[in-house]
Symmetry: C2
Subunit: 374 residues, 2 copies
């Protein structure tokens, strides 16, 4: 009996290389298997989330030009995170391109070069500039590292004189108006190289400690607002020339929509589409980067609620799978094969149906069981 | 950069070993990735359909006791085909068990030991017995090899004196009444070790050259017939003690339902459940064999139509993916990563919606494109 080693697909299979090997690449593989697309991914460690699911995985870092070049091998190449240097993206003709991805990599670029509704913002380099900016922005501001922030890291609410742990004098930092929002929304769309765009319904997102925690699709907003949010996302897709999935996180304050963050890849706010939409964001991302016609984005159910599993008191929350389904056999469970660490995203559940409040209660109960609280 | 070799999941992951590495194991993997279950499968060749999707694949034959024992390693073990000897199934405590699987392995056992509505049948061993049986069955009969038949192989319509290519004198052969049926149906259910059973709606199947070609879910039959067919399947599940998915193929003749074949694993007649039901047969099979509570089996859409891709004139039908979606972006495509051979099952498409005739037309058009006919 012989181990099978990174077996490739039969000759002629479409191949897509993915830089990054976390849960997003893992969920792309569910779609790729169905479509007969061979995914290759670059994982940081041999037991990474995607390596468990993708035979053609190689270990390497996203900033290692040679590793990325070998992974790509001239095939369509995409990313599952933003932390890839521009020259490496360019060298493999990545989709999205370096020129597009810089809007998601650098928050100052995003604020200063996009034509889209934004909160007020300033760039500062010195302590004096920071405090002046905070004053101008109303005595309190949201400080954001220009690059490298993720899941609440590199973001802090600051008053004049207060320490900003991720800032060092001389470094450019973004200071934004602290928006007293009524709701956070996300508009998810996909774009093909030739410009075809498809948009899912806009969703409501709820954060916990800066990490996406709960998503309700569609968002409880008017059709006019849904249209307006999709239109903003479409305009950003066209301005940036993104190829693949684009998520635009927004604040809703009164009737104002203001851009918060961008992501150019499948996004946590779109996980509900696996179970709740005609085409999942993972299939759509593959279709977009491989330049296939995009799929329909209609929701299959009146409502879907997704809740993330952020850490657990269980050694492995998969111990609790049986208990989740004893309580509620209709919960769709998604586990990422990641070790438990406090607050770490290690899975999510989705519940689809009619009544949003009932779906929320069901999804949170399932998450409490996986967290070891029930 | 280092190749990742059959990386296992993190410690504590539920593990399921699958004997067999065709498209059924491949589609189980789509469900397993989502649930965080580590699948291990035994493939016949390193480029097998499932080996492309399952990092923990090993090459070996299903009748190699040592290969199966190493694959299993004491974990829950299931099958994706019936061609596994009883003593090997017993040695790893397979689900379904050898005692259950013999009803699907041996058509004479199925006919003689099950209490269920059957066509008339005879067993013969000599040419004289065969011809006498054909006479008794009305001058024509369906001859079936007791074991090893598959996708129309080992089945022939025979008149007295006619050759039966898969029979040799002395060998037991089954001869069945040729049913002049109005429709072929399949009832798909899943059963857990403790006896919990869930049934999907009964579907209509259409065969081409003895191979399942088109499935319509639900079948265009009365609720009374649907109930009766599900009840027959439930009774067979209980009589056999099957664990996992059970497919019962039936003839509908007038108002009579007659058992044709059994399969104890996910089945072609249930592929529509991936896109069209609250729980797919692949997730349900994993839940059943791992003894988790079963999921709901409700259809998500009023109707789903699945059509198989049986061979293609294209070197690789995946060349045509773009053209399929240009014609109809809503078609759900499933490719098995198998090389093209005439009549070979290499993929399927599913279309879900309201109007069965429209769905059939859309599914067949997509298949014609993948066949290279359009």
């Amino acid at each position: 009996m012989q181990k099978v080693v990174g077996t490739g697909a039969t000759e002629g299979a479409p191949v897509i290389a993915v830089i990054g090997g976390g849960q997003l690449a893992r969920m792309m593989q569910e779609a790729a298997i169905a479509l007969g697309i061979e995914l290759r991914c670059l994982v940081e460690a041999p037991d990474g989330s995607a390596a468990q699911a993708i035979p053609a995985s190689t270990v390497g870092q996203a900033d290692d030009a040679e590793a990325v070049s070998r992974l790509s091998g001239g095939e369509v190449t995409t990313v599952e995170h933003e932390h890839v240097p521009a020259e490496i993206l360019d060298s493999v003709g990545a989709r999205p391109s370096a020129a597009a991805l810089r809007f998601a990599q650098n928050k100052i670029v995003m604020r200063s070069e996009l034509d889209a509704p934004m909160p007020s913002w300033r760039v500062a380099r010195t302590r004096a500039e920071i405090d002046a900016a905070i004053d101008e922005l109303g005595g309190v501001a949201v400080a954001k590292a220009a690059t490298g922030g993720y899941d609440g890291k590199g973001v802090a609410v600051v008053h004049p004189g207060e320490d900003i742990p991720f800032w060092q004098p001389g470094q450019e930092i973004l200071l934004e108006e602290k928006i007293d929002f009524d709701m956070e929304l996300a508009a998810l769309i996909a774009r093909r190289p030739g410009g075809q765009i498809e948009a899912w319904p806009v969703v409501r997102t709820v954060q916990r400690d800066g990490i996406c925690f709960e998503v309700t699709a569609p968002a409880p907003i008017s059709e006019e607002l849904d249209d307006r949010a999709r239109e903003i996302a479409r305009s950003i897709a066209e301005q940036t020339g993104v190829v693949g999935v684009l998520a635009v996180e927004m604040f809703l304050a009164g009737d104002r929509l203001l851009i918060n963050e961008l992501a150019m890849r499948p996004h946590n706010s779109g996980h509900w589409t696996i179970d709740g939409a005609a085409t999942s964001q993972f299939e759509q991302h593959l279709r977009a980067v491989a330049d296939y016609p995009l799929g329909p984005t209609d929701p299959i159910f009146p409502a879907s609620v997704m809740v993330n599993l952020l850490g657990s008191s269980l050694a492995d929350p998969r111990e609790a799978l049986g208990r989740v389904w004893e309580a509620d056999p209709g919960v769709k469970v998604h586990m990422y094969g990641k070790e438990v660490r406090p607050g770490r995203k290690i899975g999510h559940v989705t519940v689809c149906g009619d009544d949003v409040e009932e779906l929320r209660a069901r999804a949170h109960r399932a998450i409490e069981i996986l967290e070891g609280k029930k």
